[in-house]
């Protein structure tokens, strides 16, 4: 499933909404999550999962082609952990 299919499906279920509004709704949801993480916040969606930011320490990396050492700066990366309900559903335990 891709973004446009999600929008189409939600649009079909909500004939009273303009498709362009459904598009804005879906975009607003994902945008809000990225915004939250960019500000160092977490987003916890019970049953689905939680998005958080993890810190990666600075390290000395290596250019795999030349073997040369390069310093890699500390950085923050997005992380997602699936929620219990979804994990259970993936393994056939509908509750």
């Amino acid at each position: 499933m891709i973004r446009s299919e999600l929008i189409q499906k939600l649009s079909d279920e909500n004939p009273h909404l303009y498709q362009r509004d459904v598009e804005r709704i879906v975009n607003a949801i994902f945008e809000e999550i990225i915004d939250a993480l960019s500000s160092g916040n977490r987003v916890e969606l019970r049953g689905f999962g939680a998005f958080s930011v993890k810190k990666r320490d600075a390290r000395v990396g290596r250019n795999p082609r030349t073997g040369e050492s390069v310093s890699v700066e500390e950085k923050h990366v997005p992380f997602f952990k699936a929620g219990k309900l979804l994990r259970d559903r993936l393994n056939g335990q509908e509750s």
């Binding site: 499933m1 999600l6 939600l10 879906v26 939250a36 960019s38 969606l45 990366v77 699936a82």
Partner: protein
Amino acid sequence: MAAKTLTRMDLSEAVFREVGLSRNESSQLVERVLEMMSDALVDGEQVKISSFGTFSVRSKTARVGRNPKTGEEVPISPRRVMTFRPSHLMKDRVAAGNRGQ
């Protein structure tokens, strides 16, 4: 870091601000989006949201695990796990926003 935790309520609020729907309808739409994504994943489908990221399901084979406390061997049955790969855009924005934090 201002470790605030956002929930469904904040997402509904964002939808509410974006389009002039009621708060109630906004939260129902957020719920539906999460349900649709979950259902697709449970069906084994990949969920690819451009400029956000890709959720996919991987199957893991059975293996023998060990209870770290007792050292006892326990069988781990085959299972499906979900992974999320953030898009470049998301990685860049998260890295930029948290720089020096």
